[in-house]
């Protein structure tokens, strides 16, 4: 071990060179970096949300509701085809996304099988003992529904976040039905949360005026209509007005191509524009229903119910609700970004304000530098010139660690800084092991070179064993998966690896060069 090969020296020099180059940008401000020549890397380490300030949101997509919706429309379709094929059935009911019904006529079973075979890719079915049939979506179909609704949701969330004006957001799918949202710089996420909380499903439907709001309130219904409450009209007793709205002949919001806030007769309104298909449909419906009222339904609430005075053929219109300008702006934005396929629930939220982030960086930096200086002084006091070599290695260990973190674009969090400081403390361990071993070997009165050689050889095995066990713990930490802890695990594991490298290669070469120059009679340690 005492001789180092030329290539080892070159490797160490090369590593140190890259470490300096790649960690360098972290010591300058962004402005200074711009003045650097282009061939010097200018990438800085990515700071986590806890350091630079920002919001972390974990959102759950309510895929269950989409599955139910899909299953209901499948059941409706099946019922229609049963009727069409004149298959008599009874006890048709849906329970927890399972459809049950009974065929009254046994010899129609073949016809039923034929119909069901059309859906064979999506459903499974069982014939129960009591003669009824149980039908449910198979796992494949459920997975497809989940996947599409989550990926559509991600698309819509992305558009909404972009419209909101966030720089460099991270939007990722997590697990089966979750979306992880990281928003650097967003320290007041309330408005954005409100925007994400809206499904923004818009429909234009015709109000059926056969039923008065009071009749509806008393429980009357009419087939072919659905009852919605109004967003801002109240009846005499202070309850929101209810309207029956025709289910057929509606226009859905996905035919919109544009929406923006404007001022109409002094109040803020949302002006919208349909695409060609939507424009034609809008023209047709308004022509057919002159004199009636149009319900503009957003997320199952009527936000406006204007009279149709004349056909609207240009495909353009305005929504006059009782908006503030902010609300009109938000609504236009939601309409432009499109509707979510399913409701979203925020299940975890962490926001760090800019002042705490700045404080954390400041104290983290200070603690690291202080810990570092204390250890250098301590090592020098205990091991003299050898401690000095270990300290130089420790410097480079830090630079290499920083360079690796920067170039693999790892995110530095506050626990990550703690990981670095801990690494500083533990990094000297390998050197301590070696020096203590050399101390013991001195007693054997060998030549200086042989002493150092044996010291390194004996300590090496121990270093490997000790570091691998710590590494196992660090890797398990990484597997734990949550953001802040992961940051700690990353810096700790990389720190263990770099400290092994610097302790074994770096100090050894330094010590051997010193030995050759000084040629001491004996080693004092």
């Amino acid at each position: 071990m005492v001789q180092f090969k030329k290539w080892q020296l070159y490797l160490v020099i090369l590593f140190s060179f890259f470490a300096i180059i790649f960690s360098l940008p972290n010591f300058f401000s962004k402005e200074t970096l711009k003045k650097f020549p282009a061939f010097i890397p200018s990438e800085q380490i990515v700071l986590g949300l806890d350091l630079q300030g920002g919001s972390y949101l974990l959102i759950e997509v309510d895929t269950q509701s989409v599955i139910s919706e899909n299953f209901e429309s499948f059941s409706d379709g099946l019922r229609l085809s049963l009727r069409k094929n004149k298959i008599p059935y009874s006890k048709f009911n849906i329970k927890n996304n399972n459809l049950f019904f009974k065929i009254r006529n046994e010899d129609k079973k073949d016809d039923l099988s034929k119909i069901l075979s059309n859906y064979s890719q999506d459903i499974s079915f069982e014939y129960l003992d009591d003669g009824s049939t149980k039908i449910f979506f198979n796992n494949q179909k459920i997975k497809t529904i989940q996947d599409t609704s989550v990926s559509q949701s991600i698309e819509v969330v992305r558009r909404r976040v972009d419209e909101y004006g966030t720089k460099e957001p991270t939007i990722q799918r997590q697990g089966i039905n979750r979306i992880l949202l990281e928003l650097p710089g967003i320290t007041e996420p309330e408005r954005l949360k409100k925007l994400l909380g809206k499904t923004a499903k818009l429909t234009l439907q015709i109000i059926d005026e056969d039923l008065s709001p009071d009749e509806i309130r008393s429980g009357k219904t009419k087939p072919g209509t659905i009852i919605y409450e109004t967003d801002n009209e109240l009846d005499s007793s202070g309850n929101p007005l209810l309207y029956a709205v025709k289910k057929r002949n509606f226009i859905s919001g996905d035919l919109l191509i544009n929406a923006f806030p404007t001022i109409d007769r002094g109040s803020p309104v949302v002006s919208f524009e349909f695409n060609n298909k939507g424009g034609r449909k809008f023209g047709k419906i308004t022509t057919e229903n002159i004199g009636k009222r149009l319900a503009i339904v957003l997320d199952k609430k009527i936000i406006s119910s204007p009279n149709i005075r004349e056909p609207i053929t240009g495909g353009k219109g305005i929504i006059t609700g009782q908006f503030t300008f902010q609300e009109a702006t938000d609504l236009s934005m939601l309409l432009r970004a499109g509707a979510l396929p399913a409701p979203l629930n925020i299940i975890e939220e962490r926001t760090v304000g800019p002042s705490l982030g700045a404080d954390s960086i400041k104290s983290g930096k200070f603690a690291s530098i202080l810990g570092f200086i204390l250890i250098i002084i301590f090592m020098f006091l205990i091991y003299g010139v050898f401690g000095f070599f270990a300290s130089i290695a420790l410097c480079f260990n830090l630079l290499i660690l920083l360079a690796i973190l920067t170039s693999i674009k790892a995110t530095l969090t506050l626990p990550g800084i703690a990981g670095i400081v801990l690494t500083i403390g533990m990094a000297v361990d390998a050197n301590v092991l070696i020096f203590e071993r050399i101390k013991e070997e001195i007693k054997h009165n060998l030549s200086p070179i042989a002493t150092i050689d044996t010291g390194y050889k004996e300590a090496f095995k121990t270093i490997i064993d000790a570091n691998i066990t710590t590494l196992i713990a660090a890797i398990m930490l990484f597997g734990l998966g949550s953001g802040p802890v992961k940051g700690f695990a990353v810096t700790l594991s990389i720190g263990i690896l770099t400290s092994m490298f610097t302790a074994i290669m770096f100090t050894r070469i330094l010590i051997l060069i010193w030995l050759k120059k000084k040629l001491p009679e004996r080693i004092n340690l």
Binding site: N345, I347, E348, E349, L374, I375, I424, L477, L480
Partner: protein, 300 residues
């Protein structure tokens, strides 16, 4: 020539003489910690229980009692208030099972809208997520124990693996007991701390075991207790050196690292002490009871 020595060279401390006492004390502490964990419980943070946390810095002096009355009017259930650092930094903790908790932050912020407040940190963890985080934490601890167990088994022998794991479980339980008795908040970062302690302690133990194994090959004529004593003394200055350097770094972090990570750092500092102690007084003496002395069958 070195200026400072932590301990003199060639110590001859008889660690093994008091092995029965230390093992007994540890067993007592272990049982005490276990009962603390079960009966007193851990002060679980919102990472695990779910809930809302807001850290706010008020621009002007704030009367805590007024604030408390104000919070109680919000119908959020119990709102815990705690000042940290200087008087104007206040942490709000709410475990609101009734309302939609995601809205709690908004409700509190709205009620404070006429104060000038800098929101330093707001966190909300849904109850479902909390449960998952607990699960992930426990799994991480178990898997790292198993991983370490296997590695030592392969590199040494089963007795050593068993000794190391017992010492490790001892450290983990005593750390949890430490958190329980002081009622420090136990959160996700603390789980990371516990795992780091495990890593640190095992590192220490492995270094000593390595030396014991080496001494077992070298010395065939002395008792096993003496072998262990020799090895512990041989590695003692390293053990203390590493503990000291790590402590130096940790103390710097504790004093200047800020409130956010302070309980994390306290856990680590405790871990350095307990890890060092257990390597010397638990992991090593245990070997004598685990039929580890197979020197006759060892290869040269």
């Amino acid at each position: 020539m070195p200026i400072l020595r932590i301990i003199k060279n060639d110590t001859k401390i008889n660690f093994m003489r008091i092995k029965k006492i230390t093992l007994f004390i540890s067993a007592i502490l272990f049982l005490f910690s276990l009962s603390l964990i079960f009966f007193k419980g851990l002060n679980l943070g919102i990472d695990f229980t779910g809930g809302t946390l807001i850290e706010a810095r008020f621009k002007e002096n704030i009367d805590l009692n007024n604030l408390r009355t104000k919070m109680n009017k919000l119908d959020l259930g119990e709102v815990q208030l705690q000042t940290i650092g200087n008087e104007n930094d206040i942490i709000f903790r709410v475990q609101d099972k009734k309302n939609n908790q995601a809205k709690t932050i908004e409700i509190i912020k709205k009620s404070l809208s006429d104060e000038s407040v800098d929101y330093r940190r707001t966190e909300f963890v849904g109850p479902k997520v909390g449960g998952e985080l607990v699960e992930a934490g426990i799994i991480a601890v178990i898997f790292s124990l198993i991983g370490i167990l296997i590695y030592i088994w392969v590199r040494f022998q089963w007795n050593f693996a068993l000794g190391a794991i017992i010492a490790l479980v001892h450290d983990v339980i005593l750390t949890l007991g430490f958190f329980s008795i002081l009622q420090f908040e136990f959160n996700l970062a603390t789980v990371a701390a516990v795992l780091t302690i495990a890593g640190y302690s095992i590192n220490d133990t492995v270094v000593i075991y390595d030396r014991i194994r080496e001494s077992m090959r070298k010395y065939k004529q002395i008792t096993f207790d003496e072998v262990i004593n020799l090895s512990l003394n041989g590695t003692l200055s390293r053990t203390l050196m590493t503990s000291l350097t790590t402590l130096l770094a940790l103390i710097a972090l504790f004093i200047f690292g800020g409130i956010v990570i302070s309980s994390f750092i306290v856990a680590l500092i405790w871990g350095v002490f307990i890890g060092t102690y257990s390597s010397l007084y638990i992991a090593s003496p245990l070997l004598t009871y685990l039929k580890s002395d197979n020197r006759q069958s060892l290869k040269e």
